[in-house]
Symmetry: D2
Subunit: 312 residues, 4 copies
């Protein structure tokens, strides 16, 4: 392994300092108590590089609710289960609407636009569920994340899972609506798995570790055996770039230029093919529902490292 | 200069052969006579590589109406004129709707979602127009394309320009609608420039040559002086990837993984950063309004060359 | 009581004859078996006049599923329970969209446009439910209909109610969606009452009898004691005219000119203030989801009797 | 002629007094200077009864810009010209959207929902225009209004007409959009007639006089010769009830119960079949774009007189 990159360590220091001193930190999600009480001053970042190094800054070891970032892992499992047949149930286009919009479903006959809006992720959960029970499927999802990250301690936050289920009426509406069109088969099961996945708690370090298979064209970071075929890996990255930040995906691609997936808990997983798996966390959200300081930190990092996928 | 790449030449042969023998060739645009009478059997491809080589196949020297591909060059000029102030008039998000939809404009107060849907391109044309006349601005656009391509013979197809203007009521509706919100200042001038730009005729070879500055991080292919700053070049590429194929942009990114911009004349300009500027042309369109065989050819080419931006 | 009106009897004969011989009879609803197997040849009509007469034609004594016609009676009960406070939860505007659309709910923050689209009727059911159980509330609704009609035998079709509940995913989506905004409190209870109300079976004769209080400015047909205040009665009639036929309400008002409420079972209740309470039934529906021959029969009847509310 | 109705005179006095003392008077339209400078304290009302009497109150003889109230007269002329063929170009359904929305046009292929939203009225103007010039057609519209009102002095406010044309970009967008679908043939001509009609200036007295043919089932108030066939008159009244107040039509029908048509100048023409033609004017508008005090005055008047079409 080569020696650590002092420039990258310095860049992270600069990024962390900027985030620490920011006054406009966005708005922390408040729809459930467990999210509402997170300290908006929190900020963490972790960068796992292709040469096996890990660079961290800020609250990189504090666990947070990964929420929709889990949709990347669920998508990986669903594609492993049914392959391209998944795309008969879910589209691959940016939505042009808010993350929990039901309008598009009506216009397009119950087929969600992509696997990263709520409706699409519920349809993906229904596929991951298959013939198993929600606890079994959730255990499978956790096992996958633990395996690719090498972090056996990753777990569900039970309070978050219960709160999500107790207040998730819009998601229940989406699931029932898709059930009417046959996109979803088991409304209650898909919702249970979906809520459970959103309630996974991870630190930036753990999340950056978990994303390495996407950086490595689908290889497992330990042993480099294939976890996901290369073409499928690239397609997951493409979906992250075009759809990973809800209706702010275009702006994230424009400003940062790196495939990423955000969660309402303030986390973002960003993956530079062949270079780095990056996790950032700051709980305050911008108007599009993505981490405000997290997005800005990734923009700074990308500018300083030239890590855009659009860089020659 | 290194010797030509025999593999790439062979790949192009395979791509051309597949396109020649395809039976479902899509539907040729028929809203104006000059487009309707183009032979659906046409297929051309040209690849300009970063090392200065040119590889061609099929009808690579037949001129066609580049239509919306011109929006890439107009965007480049508008950014050169007003810089980031452009983004006060035009967004950077995928539209989630058809190319000529007016619905989004109403929901978002006259600000088009991105510079590549018709409304956005008309707003861009209004910026390019500035204080000049439409003929002057159109001459400036042609000059830019001739300069970066090194092809002095590129010209407007006057019949196409006249037909566009005579039938462009939906575009006139978009322009008037944006005028009501102040997004556009000169309805008639912006439309005249817009229709003129759409009527530019180029061959695949010329178009691939013209796209080289985007491949080269903004450098002019002759002499390598900066034409566009690097960050702006990457942002144009990002917009091509997320918005370049109307409501089929997500699928193009998913299948091909290369920034591209399509036109209703059947042309596509696709740019692999640091690698290649590719033009393909086949007049039949798919359901999203993008060249059917052109899209498929680029998918084959990307798979054979590993030229996705998501490849490590 | 004056003698029967021979002209009216003759008009009904003509209307029945026209309906009997019609070849294009619309499409029978098929989303549940109990509706799908109804004979499309059925046609019935009943006219209860203000002078206490009853005129019938065709299958006027065959019970059918009144479906959404029940929304008129549920609205009457909800207004009796909470008065004008109902309008904080439900609007009074025509929807401009299909009967089961969820799009409008998103645009207008979970407040359904009117009490006769599905979402509005579910919100009304939640109000009627109050603190009671669905069986109690349903019994109350039946009691009201039996009382104003004088027909003690009116009952729920249990098969229809069970089928509605088993397939009602779009309605479950609407209810959950409104629950997210607080428009509905008890999703399962409101749905149970809603499905039960839709499953009430009545004949044309019974339905015309049940509608008499609306013809009589709110007086009970027996004894003429007030059931509903006059102003409220007129407002119910206004809602029937502007919203009673889903997105075909404008056309029904335009062609027939009489307040009416249709159901997907093919029934329509139409009320001419001070003149007549009319029920018509033919199971085939037009493109807007309203009884095709029923609408046409009412147009003929209105033309022959001059019973439009727009007649001097 | 019977003696004047002292009760009605007294009711008008009460209505005027309430309007005079109202503090929340709505917002005066400000998109053109001629409307913006109208005194919000103005309030006028005029009631022409079927027995030939006229009752007035407040500023009943002050001319104001009738704006969209003119759409009733233009519709009458268009139906006179082409009869029911008009309904191939324009629908009869409430819009469910704002008066100048272009969204619905896209969803429904360029056919406006009804003749009283802006798009529908522009399509109606195109029909009224026929083969004539805009000045000729406008003269014909004025002649009709002068004839049915008996008021030869009614005229166009040239300043308003010029301002409308100079700022009417949204209407130009609607017209161009409909031209793309063939709903409108002559964009500039239809717009010129439309803007001219909106600029007609009338007093409440004149407007109430002009509306009498609708009260009289289509008969001319002088001599009682037919101006409009009875069925067509009733259909115009039905459209006024279901569509006459834009997206506040349902509420107007609910509260007032009388067919009416409002204009952004603050005028409303309301017609009680067989009873009264009523004009009211107060320039401040409510959130739906209808005269705030005018609507409230009509609600009071209807309650005091029992003049709802839903009264037995």
């Amino acid at each position: 392994m080569p020696p650590p990159d002092p420039d990258l360590a310095e860049i992270l220091d600069t990024v962390v300092a900027a985030a620490r001193s920011a006054t406009d930190r966005g708005i922390v999600a408040s729809y459930i108590p467990a999210l509402a009480r997170v300290d908006p001053q929190c900020f963490g970042i972790a960068v796992a590089t292709a040469d096996g190094r890990m660079y961290v800054g800020g609250d990189a070891d504090t666990a947070f609710s990964i929420q929709s970032v889990s949709k990347v892992f669920a998508l990986t499992l669903a594609l492993d289960r049914v392959g391209a047949a998944l795309w008969r149930r879910v589209g691959v286009e940016p939505s042009g609407t808010a993350f929990n919009s039901i309008v598009q479903l009506e216009a397009e006959c119950g087929i969600p636009r992509n696997p990263f809006i709520n409706a699409g992720a519920i349809a993906v959960a229904d596929v991951v569920l298959g013939d198993t029970t929600p606890p079994q499927a959730l255990a499978g999802l956790l096992d996958f994340i633990r395996d690719v990250s090498g972090e056996a301690g990753i777990a569900i936050d039970a309070e978050v899972a219960a709160s999500e289920a107790a207040t998730g009426f819009r998601n229940a509406a989406l699931a029932n609506y898709m059930r009417a069109f046959g996109t979803v088969g088991d409304v209650d099961g898909a919702l249970a798995l979906y809520f459970g996945g959103c309630a996974i708690a991870m630190s930036c370090r753990q999340l950056a570790l978990a994303g390495r298979y996407l950086m490595l064209d689908g290889l497992h970071p330990e042993g480099h055996r294939p976890v996901v075929p290369p073409q499928r890996t690239r397609r997951i990255l493409s979906l992250m770039l075009t759809c990973g930040h809800y209706d702010g995906s275009g702006e994230f691609a424009f400003r940062v230029g790196i495939p990423g997936k955000s969660g309402v808990g303030g986390g973002i997983l960003a993956v530079v093919p062949g270079r780095a798996s990056i996790a950032v966390w700051s709980p305050g959200l911008n108007a599009r529902g993505n981490s405000k300081l997290g997005s800005e930190a990734l923009e700074q990092l990308a500018a300083a490292t030239n890590w855009s996928v659009f860089t020659p």
